[in-house]
Every structure is written in C-alpha cells, then in structure tokens.
Symmetry: C2
Subunit: 414 residues, 2 copies
C-alpha cells in the first residue's frame, strides 16, 4: 500500500512524464458508450421476460434486489457461448468488480489459520490485499514465462501438509498475468488441475486479461477444462464494458460446508457473505452490463476482438520499440519478456529497480514504471520493473520508449 | 443468517400474507426518480467546476476514479447544511452503501484480538455480520426506550479493561434504531460522548433513520455534538435517493496509527482499505446522488421532509391500529413501544415469539413479522417481535393490524 502511494506521489510530481505505470483500460475502449441505450435495452428485455409493465420493471433498478445479482442468467449464457463453460445460473454471483469476489471467496473458503492461500509470485495486489484484510496467510509460488510453476506448488502443498496445515486455494491468472505478463499453456493448465485434484485444493482463476489473446490463439479457461469442480472462476466487465461500472462475477459450483456445519453451494454461501460487504451490486450498473450483453446477442466475442486489437497494437509498439533500442545497442544485463497479450511487459535491469531509481527515471528522463518488488511477497524482483502500455496512445508509447532508452543508457551504461 | 433464510422461505410460502418483516424503503419514495436528469445535472456541474468539455467530464463516470469517492465535497456540504457537522472534504469516504463503511471502519480500528466492538443489543445485523466476517469480537450492551444504556456500557468497558482488553468502538444508531425503534435524548447523547472520552473508545454513529423525525423534533447528531473527534459517522442515500443506488459515506476525521506504524487520517486509511474490497464506489451511482444533491441546492432537508411524512403516516396508522385493538381488549401480557419515527415497532408477547409461532402466524392468520431473537447477540428478545411498516400501503397496514389482532387473540387468548 505504501508503495502505491509513493507511485501516485511520483506521478503527481511529474505530470509531464510518460507513465508506463497504470494498468488501466484504454479510454478509447469506452469512448462510444451509450449508457442510456443499454439501460433501455435491459428494461425492454425484462418487460418481455416478466410480462410486467416498464414502470414496474424500472423499479428493479431502484430496489435492493437479490444479493446474488440480477443478471446471473446473462452471465451464465456469456460463459457458455464464449468459453464453453457450463455453469448453471445458480452458481453465478455478481459482485462489485472482481475485487469483491476475491474477498468473498477467501472468506468463504479459508476459515482456519491452518488453511493457506497459494499465490503466483509476483502477484496481483488485489488478491494479496484481500488476504491481508482477512488475516489469511499466503504462500508465494514462483511464476515464470509459462506461468505458475506447478512443481513448486506441489512442494508448497506437501510442506504445508507436513506442518499440519494445507493449501486450501491457489490464485492464478493463467492468461498474461499482472504483473508478470506470463501465460500458461494448455498442457500446463491440465497439470495444475491434476495437482489440485491430487493435493485437494481449489484453483481461483482470474480471467481478467484472457480477452487480449490474438484471434485463434485463445486457450481454454481453467474452468472450461475443469472436470471435478476444482476451479472457482472470476471475471470482470471493467475491461470490456468500462472500469467504473464495477461489475464482476464469480462462478462457484462447488459444494462447501459452512462454519455452521451446513452443506451448501459455494455460490449461495458467497451471496450470504456479500450481504455483509456491499448488500448487493448496484442494479443500475448491472442493468448497463445486462443491456450491453443483450445488444451483443449474449456474446462478447466481437466486442473483445476490437478491444484486444487495440491492446495488441500497443504491446507490439512497445516491444518493437524496445527491439529498436537493442539494435542501437543497450547496456549488458537489460532484457525483457515478449508476451503475446495482456497489458504488461517485465524488464530486467543490471541494477536494482527500486524507488530511488524510479525517482531518477522520472526526474532526469521523464519516464515512469513500477518496481516489480512491489508485487513480490518475498525478496524477489529487486532488479525487475513492470511496463504497462494499456492506457497510452501510440505517440506516448513511442516517446516513452525513446525516454526509456535514454534512461537505460544514462543509468546503466556508465 | 440462517434465520433470515427461514424468514425469506416463510415469505415465499405465504405470498398473500401481509408482511411486517421487510425494513425496505417505500417504493413511493422513488417513484418519480429521473436518473438521466440527475446524471446530466452532475455532468453540467463538473463541466463548470473543471472547465473541461462534457465529453471529458463524462469520462469521469466511466473510469475507476479515486477510491475515496467523487462527490465527497457535496457530502461534506450536505453535512454542514443539514446537520451543522463541520467535516472537511478530506475526512469523507464514499462507500458502497453504509454496509461497506462498517466493514472498513471495523478493519481499520480493530487490529488486535484484545480490541472489542460494543453494540446495542438487540442490534442491526449489518454491523454484527461485518464483525463476524472479520473475526471481531462483539460485546452486547442493552438498549431500552431511551437508547443504548450508558451505565451498562461503562461496566462493559471496565470489565474489558480488567480482562486486559478494551472496548475500541461502540456502534449505535441513536435515532429510531433497527430493530428496537429506540431513540437517545440529547442529554443521553452527551453522556455517551463523555463516556467515550473517559473510557477512550470511538463511537460509530449510524444515522440511517434520523430523517424520519417529525419537523421540529430533530435531535443533534452525535457527530454534531462531538468536540473531541470521538465519533465516526455513517450515512446512506438508500432511504432518501433509492436503495439500489448503493451509495453511503463515512466521516472519519480522527488520526490513527496503522499496522505499519504510520500516523494517518482515518479517512485516508479507510480509502486504502477500500481498494481491497470494492476498489471504488461506482461513479455512475455517485453521479446520480451528486446530481440529486445539486438539484436540491446541496441540502436534503426538504426531500427528507416528504419522505419522513410518509413513514410517520405509516407508523401512526400502525400504532393507532394497535391502540384500537387494545380498546377491543387484548390478551394480558401483550404490549409495544411507541416510537415517534423510524421504520420499526417492537411488540412483547406473553409467549415465545419464535419461528414456530411465526409459521403459525403466517399459516393461520396471514400475517408475518420478525422474531426479535434474531437480532440479539445473547438470549434476549425471546418473547418480542419486530413490526416494520415502512414498505406497506395504508390498506396493507389496516388489514395487517386486523390480522395481528386475530393472531393475538387466537394464539394468546386461550
């Protein structure tokens, strides 16, 4: 948390710097948004479905509504159409972004201090933050270019068991993870699910960046491959609708035993816990998303394609720019990964990529990035930085890469 | 939680019963809502304030936005105008309903298992639920017609101290509490604040029903009387805008020390914690509330007055109806309180007001209510039920009272 504040402070102090720091969606992806149209589309649909007059149906937008959500059927259909996930509507809970879903899932599944959350290391701060909020202990598992290291996870499970504890949940974003930009192959995904079965844990899959894959290069979701209800699946509309809509969802088709000793569908348990966090997801936001889903005939494949093209354009610009820096000669020890999707590239330096270096990068070169150490649970990532290109224009990326080149030469070439 | 499900199940099974169970706002209070007008009002205001074109300003509605909120200045102005609370904008955090604020405040203030949350008993399930979610231990303090019993709270503080622990926060709804319908007088409020100072705890004030007081009978908020920053104040727009808007707020002008050892404004700490719960409150919902505040010139006094009149009409109908039952003769041992505002009346019976009796009330008399025991932390309230009249029409109240009469005679008159 303190490092995020430091970063915000740096961004405030250098308003003219090009920032490869924020991982926010690109404003062009929601420039043509027509909220009123989506709302009326949703209301007309509900009128047809229910047989009630529009005035009655509009009340749906104003009342508390069910804690589990209003658009669960549409979400279940989306998952069926776009991802071949066969989840009943009853297994879906609509949440205030994927963030609330993370908090609910951790609270529902981890009730004893003997239960552990395994996370990819480096890791998205949303899940480690939710764990800290609830006092849930995390076990870092290294992530490489091909994603979470299954062998290391197996060792973590066994070490936990020897200590009389257990890994209860493993959080992973298999497609273009934040911050690492890593991706698990299909076979690798299968191995993770086999391990979940063998070591008896649940996989919490975060599908935030899957839509950025190139057409034809999509991989099946862990939830699509899930044959034994080992996967709890998280999704969000922040990237394909707009970030401020704050609508996410969780697919939780597992049967769990609650603290009361009752056997219940995990989704039902999450909906009950949600009454203690936000009561319900704003119906207005759900109706906007619902209207968007209806406008697109229940599938977001086409909408995702245009957005994916924009993000891959930015990623290609960044990687091509970095390649040109290489052609011009770069100091030894500088390198980066080459993700084929997502918002992020990680770059290794021959020196510590710390807050001091970031301040110098901002001050002398006008370019910002995020120290990767911020995302590590352990001591890793000290000489790595994260570059995000999702929010920038092509011109900003070009200028930013030039400044990065000057920074690398100026600070590492001596 | 299980009792709420039981109640929902009973309501599903008896769709023709008159239900004095749900404490939801009356649909008439949001029948004339014009969301589009509020949204454009907010956008025009932001255009004037910022000097940016409308297209740029509308983006505010789509982006993540600041975790602490977008309309904090308008909320601070509302508190100044309507309640003479002088809170700087920086001390306000906008939340997804008052429920999220409860969770954040408990997490921020209670970090050790030695710290306790004192609550009025019987108590609103939102705060006890949030405490359970976070593993925060609660101490029940009896509430009577004149509100939370300060003498009993003093004893609870001292008992905690003798056990090497402390009451860190005391939750209270001073105006027409849910479920008790109790109200603290002004002098009583002053004594609570003196105790907070003497015993060194913070008061978490929930102002959800204050607006239902009769004109001229309003009492100062605890926050208005607060001279030593002892009060953290919670508010909601669910009742004066519409429930599904899911916008609440917290005023937290205290300085606290975080787990990291930093000294910070409590509001800043809450905003950081919020990034782990919902990231931010949907800007669309905030803009609707912001537009409503602007339409009313920054004060909700007038809007509250019309809503207050509706709720007091219902309350008077219920109490007058009960009085008529008395005139016709009621079984001995039946009695109720006479709140002058709020949504709730509590009724004492000469027999246990339990789930079995509720099922009989639904089945044989077509009238539903809530067993008060559901709201007690300890064994209290076994022979008390809660009647809520907020959601009903005058006709439903009249019919419901008649059925209540039959129920009381039929079940208690034998």
């Amino acid at each position: 948390m303190r490092s995020v504040e430091f970063l915000n402070e740096v961004m405030r102090r250098y308003p003219d710097a090009i920032s490869f720091a924020p991982g926010a969606p690109h404003p062009d992806t929601y420039a043509d948004l027509d909220i009123e149209r989506y709302l009326s589309r949703f209301v007309s649909h509900a009128v047809t479905e229910s047989g009630h007059p529009p005035s009655t149906v509009r009340r749906l937008l104003y009342e508390y509504g069910p804690s589990r959500g209003l658009i669960n059927g549409l979400v279940a259909e989306l998952l069926r159409r776009d991802h071949a996930v066969e989840a009943p509507e009853q297994a879906v809970v609509v949440t205030v972004g994927a963030q609330e879903a993370m908090l609910l899932v951790l609270r529902a599944l981890i009730r004893s201090t003997d239960d552990l959350l395994a996370v990819a290391d480096p890791c998205y701060v949303g899940i480690t933050g939710a764990a800290r909020m609830l006092g849930v202990e995390t076990v870092p598992v290294p992530e490489a270019d091909d994603g979470l290291q299954v062998q290391a996870l197996r060792s973590a499970c066994r070490a936990a068991r020897r200590a009389g504890r257990r890994v209860r949940v493993c959080y992973v974003a298999p497609d273009f993870s934040n911050p690492g930009g890593n991706r698990m192959g299909k076979e690798h995904r299968e191995r993770l699910l086999e391990l979940a079965e063998a070591e008896d844990f649940l996989v919490l899959e975060d599908n935030v960046y899957g839509f950025t894959a190139a057409p034809g290069a999509e991989l099946p979701l862990l939830k699509t491959l899930d044959r034994n209800r080992r996967v709890v699946h998280l999704g969000t509309f922040s990237k394909v609708c707009f970030p401020g809509v704050r609508v996410g969802y969780v697919v939780a088709d597992q049967t769990v035993v609650t603290a009361d000793g009752d056997s219940t569908l995990l989704a039902d348990h999450l909906a009950r816990l949600k009454t203690m966090v936000t009561v319900n997801t704003p119906p207005l936001s759900q109706a906007v998303v619902g209207g968007m889903l209806l406008e697109h005939g229940g599938s977001l494949a086409e909408r995702c394609r245009t957005r994916s093209a924009l993000y891959r354009r930015n990623l290609t610009l960044l990687l091509d720019g970095l390649d040109r820096l290489t052609e011009q000669g770069l100091p030894p020890g500088v390198g980066w990964n080459r993700p084929t999707g997502g918002f992020f590239v990680r770059m290794r330096l021959p020196v510590p990529a710390d807050d001091t270096l970031l301040a110098r990068s901002a001050d002398s070169y006008g370019v910002l990035w995020t120290p990767m150490a911020h995302f590590h649970l352990g001591p890793g990532g000290a000489d790595v930085l994260r570059l995000s290109c999702s929010y920038l224009t092509p011109e900003q990326i070009t200028t930013g890469v030039r400044r990065l080149g000057a920074f690398l030469h100026g600070e590492m070439g001596r």
